[in-house]
């Protein structure tokens, strides 16, 4: 299991467009990806659950990856939250 914290850098927070990209990305891995904010945690599987966390700009989220390819999944997540999030 790999855990990492990221600050949300999109001004609208985790809105529908990055959430869509995150869902697509996580489907590339066998690992279970979980997103956590302020103690609430949901699997990265459902748009409605991700939006329901109400993640805003400047919030810190914890991403947990667990499974046989968790290394690769965690790296992809790091790239997503530090680089791709700037482009939505």
């Amino acid at each position: 299991m790999i855990k990492a914290d990221y600050v949300i850098i999109d001004p609208l927070g985790m809105h529908a467009r990055p959430a869509t990209a995150l869902l697509k990305l996580s489907r590339n891995y066998k690992s279970v990806v979980t997103i956590q904010k302020a103690g609430k945690s949901v699997p990265v599987k459902s748009m409605i659950n991700i939006l329901g966390l109400a993640v805003k700009a400047g919030d810190t989220v914890t991403i947990i990856t667990e499974g046989e390819d968790e290394q690769a999944a965690a790296l992809a997540m790091e790239h997503f939250f530090t680089v791709e999030m700037k482009n939505f």
């Binding site: 850098i9 467009r17 459902s46 748009m47 409605i48 805003k56 400047g58």
Partner: protein, 587 residues
Amino acid sequence: MVSWEASFIYLSEKQKTMKGSGLSPGIATGKALIIRRKEPVSAVRYLENEEQKSDEIKSFDLAVEAAVNEIRKIIEVCGSNFRPDDISILETQTEFIADSQLRNDVADCISKDNMTAVSAVRKVTGEMAKTFGEMNDEYLRARVTDIQDAGNRIVRYLLRGEEYTVPVKNRDTILVAEDITPTEALTLDSKLICGILTAEGGRTSHAAIIARSRGIPAVGGCGPEIMSIPDNETVIIDGTSGEVLINPSSKTIKEYEKRKKDFDSNAEMLRQLRDKPAITKDGTAVALYGNISSFKEIENLTECGGEGVGLLRTELFFMTSEDFPAEEEQFEFYLQAAIAAGKKPVIIRTLDIGGDKQLPYFSFPAESNPFLGYRAIRISLDRQELFLTQVMAILRASMYGNLKIMLPMISGINELREAKEIINIAKSRLAASGKRFRENIETGIMLEIPSAAMMTGLLAREADFFSIGTNDLCQYTMAVDRMNSKVAGLYDHFNPGFLRLVATAVEQAHQHGKPVGMCGEMASDPLAVPLLIGMGLREFSMPAASIPVVKQIINSCSAGSCEKMWKKVMRMDKQEDIRLFLKNEMK
């Protein structure tokens, strides 16, 4: 006479006004077309055995697949007419339709509560929409429409219903609806629709985003009363103020026609200028930045064509706080600026108080010459903990954008060295506590004290960039307080001595290969812009609203003739002659 008056009163009584919120700017006058959605109906029934249940779940899955495929088909068929943003809205919609939580909940309702797939979808999406509708966030509340749209699409396939299309036939139609779903909004014919009026919806609804991207004026949040507007009624909407006029008098129509013309020509000018680079006729590129006091101004700055923030003042933020803002609070403020600016540079000026700017929670010693006294960097170097806190917050936020530090009121090399030393201490403190920051953040200085401007070349060895603050530099050079009306007449940035000082600073910075900009009022003075280009200045920072005007000036002059102009001005000995000469050149 009497009958005329009576009919006038009758007419003015009939004109009705409403107020919503502006979703997409612009004015539209047209005929109302009311969209009343027919909900697909189905008889309520309950499932009796396991076989029926598994059949219902199967048909739910098939309906989801069909609804997703339909959207994929829209992308495939119309994709080339869509903007990339529109396509991602559609892709997002497929995520709502095929949502795994939605499927789990629907399957539960079917297998545990014996509900049909249709009732289950209605119940589950209704509850989800309710939860989102109660959220404390405009963006998330606006997602209610997405969830309802997803539910309706699935239900339509379950009932094998027809896809609902908006029956627009005439030009100048103003669409009136409870709300517009994303797929409806995308398939609207923008040649026929001149405006959108909705009972619900905020600025982040898809209808608003699409209306803005297509330049269709839109007003939302008017309440359900708008659904009682008769079809074909004349309606005026003002997408800037949110005003709605129903059955307006011919006088009102004329008045709004004029407003529409003014708005459209101004918007057209801004639109044309916004994406054009500021470049002289002979090909010299000039960068135009904005002066701001809060990250909230960045959106407007970008609209006006700003390429970044040339000056983010931090005084206002400090002045409106109860006490010196803590590191976390400052981090949040600079982070928002970094985020809002994206890849564009943001130059943050460290606290510039003193002079005429006081803090309610900090007592300044009484001075006879506050502008020559304890202010700006002098306070920062004296109260080092305050400066350290600010720098640590900027350094941390710089991880999320292109932030730079700018020091105000530097008079010589010692202040620059001391300030950089403190910045290094801030870095090692952050490193020691495991906080991430940008190691190679650029540190520049304001040139607003004559001694610093004269020794720009010497400072250039240790400063990464310069910004000429003409307001202070001018008053220090001519020794004039421009707030004092008896002497304010002496304050003039066309004073030949002052012009030479500015030119010296620009030249020396460039000799050392260091960027130099200008953030004072002179940078947006239409008369001064060509002269400054003639001196070699290539970076201008100003209030956002001035950017289009300055860009027009730059686009219409040539750097070569500006240089000649500056050479001629060099031979003139008084500001009045220089102004007159520049005015004639501008014609």
